[in-house]
């Protein structure tokens, strides 16, 4: 019932659209959001398709709990084939856009083909228009949102758009909604750009109903109360995700200077405490916290930059408040590049949001460029006269803007770390998996994280499994395969509901099942949730294998496999992937080559 039972399909090549019924057999087998969109993608396109070709399919998907009073219910996922990874891409986002799309009456929005001219979609319930975007092409995400609300005289419009990065095919361009929330990873914004689609502006008045309102409200209240009482939730509310930085520093898993090191001497200048402490002139970076749709956590940070800082001293247009540092942004611009200037980090973060780029991939690509510069593989002549030295805050802010605008060496940085390092003769300096850059956790200390990175279907990712507890307890490869596999499955289920991963400390599959069961027809329990998650995981794997990926892609860079951690609790250790991976394949019911066996596929109905 909380399904809208409708799919909006838009063919950008001929400018047509149609509404078709949601395939309920698939919804019952894969839930919504990540799972359901992956199934549609698998059925609709050849996995070998060039990600930037019109034949690639771009899907915006909500879940059965999206738009309900279950906390954090604003999530939507963008599923497509990613140009960064040449694998299945699944990036989800919060903000308010996802719930609005569902309120307009759609579970899924499927975009096919390529428009001959730049266009944007304007959706108000069942009124769907494809309109020219010539005057928006080349402009920023922030401008686009403001412009569309004004043009349609509708401040209630919610907008998801790309910046110039997405238009020009930066490999890690993202789709930004509500100014500073993003479907960030794997280059989904570049796919949108390849379709000549600048933005989607939506307003919905249909609403969302649930199957059993009384049971649903009781379940949501129970779950929201659990979340409210949890210590992890309180820390996220108070400190935001950047609370993680001190833990990683202490543990010795804070990737520093392109993963050469695992602890950063400047950590106290860019951690959560630094965000709320006055600087020398009394300026405080953090202003307040803000929530995504329906979210009772509110981990989002709203910050502003010291007006005297070099980045904005002559640019008053950036003196307003905007989205502040998350841990991943802070790690990728800070420790990974050896930079300890919090205002510079914040400004570079603005550039990511304004021009539509993934801060993890940009930061880790810049870190690789800095290492190339350090070893002499790149010279100042090649980098627009800017010294790409580790620790150079100006290099960060200038290059962030150049990459967003597609200028000078920014074009090279737009390739991503893998392609950049290959181009300049040092492929071993790429820090990532399947072409996608690592987030802020070194795997020599966190072994299960290493296995999660290596096997994540969208390339290096910290959000598709959770072995923190096991990793903190024991720094060997022993006993990591099972929790990695189990949490990959539970996370895949969670990602298919419309709920944010940050509830996972309080809500397991039981809690999710309780809410889904009351919201939708059909019987949902813990076992069915987990089986659904496993089905989704294997489906994504099938897509990747069909796309041409193999066991050889389930690996880590030499640095993490062979160079011992130089300090921290894991000093002297390397990642024991060779021990974990075979155990993981066996647990998954895959062959030694990482291919799901026929029995496994049959068991999951694949």
């Amino acid at each position: 019932m909380s399904w809208q039972r409708k799919v909006l399909r838009v063919d950008l090549s001929d400018g047509s659209h149609k509404v078709e019924p949601l395939n309920m057999d698939w919804a019952n087998a894969y839930l919504g959001e990540r799972g359901l969109a992956s199934k549609y993608l698998m059925e609709m396109m050849d996995p070998k398709t060039d990600p930037m070709a019109p034949e690639n399919v771009l899907i915006f998907a909500t879940g059965p709990l999206t738009g309900t009073m279950a906390s954090t219910s604003g999530r939507y996922a963008v599923v497509t084939k990613g140009p960064l990874t040449n694998a299945i891409a699944c990036s989800n986002s919060g903000g308010k856009f996802g719930a609005e799309l569902k309120y307009a009456g759609y579970d899924l929005l499927i975009l096919e083909g390529r428009s001959p001219q730049p266009v944007y979609l304007h959706i108000v319930d069942d009124r769907v228009e494809i309109l020219p975007a010539d005057e928006l092409w080349g402009t920023t995400v922030w401008h686009t949102e403001e412009h569309l609300k004004a043009k349609h005289q509708n401040p209630l419009l919610k907008v998801a758009s790309i910046g110039k990065a997405g238009e020009s095919g930066v490999y890690y361009a993202c789709i930004v909604n509500d100014l500073h929330r993003a479907a960030g990873r794997s280059g989904v914004g570049a796919v949108m750009g390849s379709k000549n689609l600048k933005a989607i502006a939506v307003h919905g008045t249909v609403g969302v109903r649930v199957e059993d309102p009384k049971a649903f409200m009781a379940a949501a209240k129970h779950c929201n109360d659990l979340l409210a009482e949890s210590d992890g939730r309180k820390e996220l509310t108070e400190l935001g995700t950047n609370a993680m930085m001190d833990s990683m520093q202490e543990f010795g898993s804070l990737p520093t200077r392109n993963f050469r090191e695992v602890q950063f001497e400047g950590v106290e200048k860019v951690n959560a405490s630094a965000m709320s402490a006055p600087d020398a002139s009394g300026h405080v970076n953090l202003i307040t916290n803000k929530a995504c749709f329906g979210c009772t956590i509110a981990c989002g940070r709203i910050a502003h930059i010291n007006e005297k800082h070099f980045t904005i001293v002559n640019r008053p247009e950036y003196r307003h408040a905007s989205g502040g540092l998350e841990y991943e942004t802070a790690f990728a611009f800070g420790p990974a590049c050896g930079i300890d200037d919090i205002d510079a980090l914040t400004f570079a973060g603005y550039m990511m949001n304004e021009h539509g780029m993934d801060p993890i991939s940009f930061g880790v690509t810049l870190a690789a460029a800095m290492e190339l510069y350090d070893i002499g593989a790149l010279t100042k002549e090649q980098t627009d006269g800017i010294a790409l030295e580790f620790g150079n805050a100006e290099a960060l802010t200038v290059m962030a803007e150049k990459t967003g605008k597609g200028e000078g060496f920014g074009k090279e940085l737009g390739l991503g770390s893998k392609r950049l390092c290959e181009k300049y003769g040092h492929p071993e300096l790429f820090m990532g998996v399947k072409g996608q850059e690592f987030p802020g956790y070194d795997t020599r200390g966190l072994q299960g994280m290493g296995l999660g990175y290596a096997t994540s279907n969208r390339g290096a990712c910290h959000l598709k499994h959770d072995t923190f507890a096991e990793d903190m307890e024991d720094q060997s490869g022993t006993g990591k395969a099972k929790p990695c596999k189990d949490t990959q499955d539970s996370t895949a289920a969670l990602d298919s509901t419309g709920i944010c991963l940050f509830t996972a400390g309080s809500w397991g599959p039981e809690e999710l099942a309780m809410m889904v069961n009351a919201a939708c027809e059909g019987e949902w329990d813990k076992a069915r949730m987990l089986e659904t998650g496993e089905r989704v995981w294997n489906l994504e794997r099938q897509f990747n294998l069909a796309a041409g990926l193999t066991k050889a892609d389930d690996t880590l860079p030499k640095r993490l496999l062979e160079e011992p951690a130089p300090s921290g609790t894991a000093k002297g250790k390397v990642t024991e992937l060779d021990k974990m991976l075979p155990e993981y394949y066996a647990l998954r019911g895959w062959t030694e080559e990482g291919v799901p066996t026929n029995e496994t596929l049959a068991r999951l109905g694949l």
Partner: protein, 162 residues
């Protein structure tokens, strides 16, 4: 005791649980487009401010209504709409200086906050205490206390909440 909604924008995170709760109570669906309370964001989310009907003692909407579809609930103090009487003329929406009574094209009637009959669901749903339901005669009590503590020379470091 007459109670009224008290809104503290400082505490609002713009999660819109209030808008969902309001629409669920009145429409049976989660549908912020039909919510009687709206949250407005300013400067990239730096400030978020929930706004709804204050139930004026001399209510413009009530006086303007030509068919007497609006009346005072003496128990809750809310100005309530009788949908059976409302003709959708919208004169009340012109009369209201605050914009908190609006036409609903789906029903052909107007809609406004009715304090959910004395159990406002927006306040119930608000996770941060930005919306509370308090003694109508003492909506300023908490703010008075915050200022009072500043005059307390005995405990200069005492926080307002203590």
């Amino acid at each position: 005791m007459l109670k009224s909604l008290l809104i503290d924008p400082e505490k609002c995170t713009s999660c819109l649980q209030c808008e969902m709760a309001c629409s669920f109570e009145h429409e049976g669906a989660f549908n912020p487009a039909k919510s009687r309370i709206k949250v407005f964001e300013f400067e990239h989310g730096r400030r978020a401010i929930p706004y709804t009907c204050t139930q004026c003692a001399e209510a413009w909407c009530l006086h303007a209504c030509p068919v007497e579809a609006l009346s005072r609930n003496t128990e809750t103090g809310a100005v309530e709409l009788d949908e059976a009487i409302c003709v959708g003329c919208k004169v009340c929406t012109i009369a209201c200086p605050f914009g908190t009574i609006n036409y609903n094209a789906d029903s052909g009637k107007v809609a406004k906050c009715d304090l959910c009959g004395g159990d406002p669901q927006c306040a119930e749903a608000c996770p941060t205490g930005a919306i509370t339901y308090v003694d109508a005669n003492w909506t300023g009590l908490e703010r008075m206390k915050q200022w009072a503590v500043k005059t307390d020379s005995q405990a200069p470091n005492q926080s307002p909440g203590a």
